[in-house]
Symmetry: C2
Subunit: 596 residues, 2 copies
């Protein structure tokens, strides 16, 4: 079947059930950032392979919403399919829910696989169509009914992360979770995020690209802890260990029945912004739902002493690889053909030399020149640029190690850079340094501090259209909450104070379309500093250990205090990493970290 | 009757109604910052005259909660009353609701005048006593039943603020409010804050100290606008004008019936953090309540072009008075006896010379030496210190003019100041200047920017335990929302982006107990700046026009950029105010504003 035939088959299924509009999002059942092949329904039905997009199928027409990163690609891939491209974020392009609010008639039925959308998503749809109103049908995966030769659901072997890495046993973690449940007077907690289950059980897997997690749900009460997962992925040893920790394993699909079995009068913690519509729908009428984030998110974000020790060492290994990469790039760019893709390959090779390296923590971004201005650029054979010995190359990459997860961006001068590039590089660096050097009172949130990174840009009428930082998991998702550095407040999500032990990225940027892009990213660790009469103060310890490129710094733009911040950081980089280098590389590192 | 007899009379009323605990807060029926004599029930029953405190009467014991400002005063005033002092904020002192959660038994009845507490207050009480549970009785003002010779409710004449000051007619404002109601699909809006009603109707009054408002409620639907107020306070002319604008006047007490008359199925906007328990209780069962802030708060906060023009001129008048005051203080402190109270009197005299001056916008704070460290210090005859020709005097004062409301703090060197005082003065000034010079992107909130004022202090392990800034009304309350500068996020209150036309104070401080206090406060106006490819940028225009005291500045601590900010501001002060001075005062102003 081609895309047109697939859509016709879907429409027939829709007609049988009197569904006027069927929504196919990109998500799996857990809101994961990357999804396995089994879940690529939107790609199967539309032919569009981008990492973000939502398909809407109606009887006469079909539409695909995607964002600026994918306009060109979507245009090409949708051509001939009859699917119309909706350019999200463009003026006058309605959102999906606005569109449905306008197009639907009273009583129309809107369908979707209720496991692939959150409760909050459907709530918003209901609000936007409140005038009609319409009804929702989320019981069946219609695409599944017509998808021939659908890839099976991934069920890679699950493996254990030793307590010597994790810091707490699963029994200890479970006790902590139950303590938090008690504070909320919750009788049960529904865990759907894959990294939360992996963290809680000290287990890892390989069911999701770039994220060592496994497909599973958990349902926790005061007395029971039930893991709903693909039992074939677990060794007998792990099954036994789980049993000993009081954890029962049931089949993956049992979660719905479990949720439904909670008796009326009980209180269930389940966050409608995370939990699927279908699971929320399964909750019995009389159950009181506590609509708050899972307590595991915060517990997981605060790293243990053991984790922190390991993370520091992962960053040393990662720093060695990235410094070797930068040295190689700078010394080879004029001598051999290096492309964006081959450069990324070289860096991966160098990382593989690190002991305990397990793989990339996300799709690497190596973006040369104008490509650097495309924030989520990922080189394809069609776009793969040959690096020239001039201008800037932005490399945003990261790895998973047994000792933790890294994420680093360096913008590298491959030769001569223009005055404009230098100025931009330096303004972004000022923001990065100022945020990195922030001293703040306990209780402050990332939303309070973000301005420190942006101020040098805002003063010039410049800005970057992304957050300044995100939390980073321990051998889990490279993006985790609840902490972050950003200025926008989300009315629906409470701001979270920065706590000792949290790991966050500090990554301001500046993007000049068609010309160049700059981003400077270190991971930092939140730490307690001095306690005075005025309160407990906090500071940020840099974890990432790689110099910034002095070839691209306009030193005259740095304040004395900023020079000191840069020099102090470079001194620390040299002290920490010099023992891992010899010869020319060591000499280069010495120069690259010498005071400005 | 003395306090003991009053408490006994109250207890008898409690027994009749089987009330185990009766709560008497300080509030009037509108959550006003100051309350009229009629509402001073807590003072009548306890003898304690402070501006904040909550009395709890039980059959055997009675308790008064108040904060650090009033520990000494309360101790004295409560002595012999049998009322026990509960020092709010001290370790191990429970809050009122925590205390009740512990002390009460299942089924106990908690009483209060349901008009003096908000719905949110009672909700919190209910949560803290959820284990018992208890019931609430808010129908009767028991204190009113026993209060002999209670002062009448204030009903001062209401007067009109001309459209030439307000910028919009009441018809225009009403139309804007209804637009906002439509966005929320609200059938009715309940307005209880006095400044909101005064703003909406372009009327002012004199029923609350320091705030030119009148006792009233409003109930607004798509077709009706009903003012519930004391009709005797309105002239025939104003009554007619209101009628012509489609506004009906009903007696003050009718509000409860009006609220109750809203039929089931309708949607009522009423904020449980502002609206009294009793009014919320009057809402019919089937009415859907929209628990959001009144839209008037935001409309009122964004000043009109007319208002802004007037506000600038009010600040010129106020600046003249404050500059004359500082000059007088510095030149007379060594020559005659000046006390904190007499100095405040002198400043009031000077303000009275300004055309259109209507009175103080709050209780003036003139605090010398160690008194400056008491954030809410208000001199009494007992504490009134004689000013010496040395050290620092903190003066936080403000006025109402037909052209708007002012609020300014200057910390004045009366002679020699220590190196420590200078350093502290300068650190606070650095923060004040940095926040004042902030350039930021549209959409940013005060919570994003507060750190700019605190950073110079946080870097030294210092801080001040209050917000950096509050909104200021136009000839209304000197404290208004929803905008502010603060870093703490309140989970229950959404952060509000700073909009062009908002007026906010910028007032960082530093307090060294037993030694000195420093605060620097300007009012600033939010304005739109340049629009670039990266967004619309905003900046803050200083409204307050009074120099900072160079005698207390340690110039070597200022960065070049900070010196420029200070010099630019002082130049603007001189340019704007010099035309209003002659002779020695002019010469002094020239020196006081000369570049550092």
């Amino acid at each position: 079947m081609d895309v047109r035939e697939r859509l016709q088959a879907l429409r027939e299924q829709m007609r049988k059930r009197k569904i006027a509009a069927y929504i196919v999002p990109t998500e799996d059942f857990h809101g994961s950032e990357y999804v396995g092949d089994y879940f690529k329904t939107r790609e199967y039905l539309s032919g569009f392979t981008g990492s973000a997009g939502t398909l809407l199928v109606m009887q006469e027409r079909a539409f695909l919403w995607t964002d600026g990163r994918y306009f060109l690609q979507a245009q090409e891939q949708l051509s001939g399919s009859g699917i119309e491209l909706m350019k999200s974020g463009e003026p006058e392009v309605p959102t999906l829910s606005e569109f449905l609010g306008k197009e639907l008639k009273k009583g129309d039925v809107v369908g979707f696989d209720g496991r692939t959308v959150t409760g909050a998503f459907v709530k918003e749809l209901a609000e936007k169509t409140a005038e009609k109103p319409v009804t929702f049908y989320g019981k069946r995966d219609l695409a599944g009914l017509i998808w021939e030769e659908r890839p099976p659901m991934s069920a890679e072997p699950v493996w254990e992360l030793a307590v010597s890495y994790a810091g707490f046993s699963r029994e200890e973690k479970l006790a902590k979770v139950r303590e938090e449940m008690t504070k909320e007077r919750a009788d049960a907690l529904l865990v759907t995020a894959l990294d939360e289950t992996a963290w809680l059980l000290n287990l890892r897997g390989d069911d999701v690209k770039h994220t060592p997690v496994f497909l599973a749900y958990m349902f926790i009460t005061g007395r029971r802890a039930i893991l709903c997962a693909q039992t074939q992925a677990f060794s007998e040893q792990i099954k036994e260990d789980l049993k000993r920790a009081g954890i029962t394993i049931l089949p993956y699909e049992s979660i719905e029945e479990l949720v439904a079995s909670l008796p009326a009068g009980q209180r269930l913690m389940a966050d409608e912004r995370k939990v699927s519509y279908r699971l929320l729908h399964a909750v019995s009428k009389g159950v009181e739902r506590i609509d708050k984030p899972s307590p595991i998110a915060l517990l997981k974000a605060v790293k243990t002493e053991r984790e922190i020790t390991h993370i520091r060492s992962a960053h040393v290994k990662d720093g060695v690889a990235v410094i070797k990469f930068i040295y190689w790039l700078k010394t080879h760019v004029s001598k051999e053909e290096i492309t964006e893709i081959s450069a990324a390959g070289k860096l991966e090779e160098l990382r593989c030399e690190g002991e305990g390296y397990l793989g990339q923590s996300f799709e690497p971004i190596v973006a040369y020149g104008a490509h650097g201005a495309i924030v989520h650029y990922s080189a394809t054979p069609e776009t793969d640029a040959v690096l020239q010995p001039k201008g800037l190359c932005l490399a945003d990459t990261g790895g998973h190690y047994s000792e933790g997860t890294t994420d680093i961006t360096r913008t590298i001068a491959l030769g001569e850079v223009t005055a404009r590039e230098k100025r931009a590089y330096t303004l972004v660096l000022k923001g990065h340094l100022r945020l990195g050097a922030a001293k703040f009172i306990e209780g402050a949130c990332g939303q309070n501090l973000d301005v420190l990174a942006r101020q040098p840009l805002w003063e010039e009428g410049l800005d970057y259209n992304h957050g300044t930082g995100h939390g980073v998991g321990y051998l889990l998702s490279v993006h985790e909450g609840p902490q972050n550095f950003r200025w926008r407040m989300n009315d629906n999500v409470a701001c979270v104070p920065l706590q000792e032990g949290m790991v966050i990225s500090n990554e301001p940027g500046l993007y000049v379309a068609g010309q160049f892009g700059i981003r400077h990213e270190n991971l930092v660790l939140v730490r307690k500093g001095e306690k005075t009469n005025y309160g407990q103060f906090m500071y940020l310890e840099p974890l990432t250990m790689v110099p910034f490129d002095k070839d691209a710094i306009e030193v005259s733009l740095l304040r004395p205090s900023e020079k000191k911040m840069l020099n102090d950081y470079h001194e620390k980089v040299y002290e920490t990493l010099a023992p891992h280098f010899t010869g020319e590389e060591l000499a280069w590192l010495g120069e690259a970290t010498a005071a400005v």
